[in-house]
């Protein structure tokens, strides 16, 4: 696989997570204090960079067959979960992730919390909120960067895709000073789910010992097939849901991320 599809896949996956992290950072910064928020964000980004710097080269040292089997299995599981969630959201069985309402929830919690300082951090609540948000959303990106990068023996290209997404989302967020609610987040998750599932199936089966017809070219067939299956399930569930008497998602589904 050339570097461009790798960079693009990581870029879109990272952009989705960066949008969710931005919502939390904005809530902490605008309602509490920017300095502590940036401190929390910076520490989280450093932790994520250290994880990539340590795990990336280590994972690359593993034999390719074993690496593809393990990473392929993880990516396929991970991708199918993304796809499952995206299909349930696209068909109304699960509420769409709403950055605007997520932002309002975070703002309400941030306004209610008391201020306390620790060491060089003036507002510990803003620091931890920002740190946790960036770290937790960033872990999925780290997983994708390491698995895609290690399999292609090109962690650097994956890092470029992730860094570009963080920069684009951050700059846009600073420019509009609001959560990026208009971004088609579910469509992006749908696309990433298709890519993760396709690469997971391809690498996992290859690691198990199969020889794909057309070798690497099989991926060009596999991606559209996964997309078609996902779209077919979406169409089928839409038809089923349309026939139901009530169509509102449950409260548990509304709050899930």
């Amino acid at each position: 696989m050339a570097a461009l599809p790798l960079i693009l896949t990581v870029f879109v996956a990272c952009a989705v997570e960066a949008i969710e992290a931005l919502t939390i950072v904005l809530a902490a910064g605008l309602t509490r204090e920017w300095r502590s928020t940036f401190q929390g964000m910076t520490v989280a980004l450093v932790v994520l960079a250290v994880i990539v710097a340590v795990l990336g080269p280590t994972v690359t040292l593993l034999p390719l067959t074993a690496l593809r089997l393990v990473v392929g299995a993880l990516l396929a599981i991970f991708g199918l979960q993304w796809l499952r969630k995206a299909i349930l959201r696209a068909t109304g069985y699960k509420a769409l992730h709403d950055e605007a309402s997520a932002y309002l929830r975070e703002v309400a919690a941030a306004e209610a919390a008391a201020t306390s300082s620790r060491g060089r951090v003036h507002d510990w609540y803003a620091f931890t909120l920002s740190f946790k948000g960036v770290l937790l959303e960033g872990l999925e990106v780290v997983f994708i960067v390491i698995t895609f990068g290690a399999n292609q023996r090109d962690v650097g290209a994956a890092v470029i895709g992730a860094a570009a997404a963080v920069i684009v989302v951050t700059v846009t967020g600073i420019a509009v000073r609001a959560p990026l609610a208009r971004v088609p987040e579910n469509a992006m998750k749908f696309a990433v789910g298709i890519m993760l599932t396709s690469f997971g199936i391809f690498w996992g089966a290859e690691g198990a010992g199969v020889s794909w017809p057309g070798h690497d070219g099989a991926l060009l067939g596999l991606v559209p097939v996964v997309a078609l299956v996902a779209l077919a399930y979406t169409a089928l569930l839409r038809r089923t849901r349309a026939a139901l008497p009530t169509s509102a998602p449950t409260s548990e589904e509304v709050t899930s991320s």
């Binding site: 089997l69 392929g72 299995a73 993880l74 396929a76 599981i77 991970f78 199918l80 979960q81 796809l83 499952r84 969630k85 299909i87 349930l88 068909t91 069985y93 872990l139 999925e140 997983f143 599932t197 997971g200 199936i201 996992g204 089966a205 690691g207 198990a208 010992g209 199969v210 020889s211 794909w212 017809p213 099989a218 596999l222 097939v225 996964v226 299956v229 996902a230 399930y233 569930l237 089923t240 849901r241 998602p249 449950t250 589904e253």
Partner: protein, 67 residues
């Protein structure tokens, strides 16, 4: 102990997600593929995609029939 449990729960949720059956199907499909390739000499490249699509459909059906 509580912290250890919450770390375990986080990683389980992170990797396995909402439906553990999907993970079981994918791992089983890969194991069966390896068995077919190495023990029976069958180039079963089709097995993992078929099982993955079936697992997705099964999981969606379970999720939508609950509500």
């Amino acid at each position: 102990m509580k912290r250890l449990r919450s770390i375990g729960a986080f990683w389980y949720d992170f990797v396995v997600g909402d439906d553990w059956r999907v993970a079981v199907v994918v791992v089983s499909a890969l194991a069966l593929t390896a068995l077919l390739v190495h023990a029976a000499g069958v180039n079963a490249w089709w097995l993992v995609p078929v099982c993955a699509f079936a697992a997705l459909g099964w999981s969606l059906r379970r999720a939508t029939s609950r509500g």
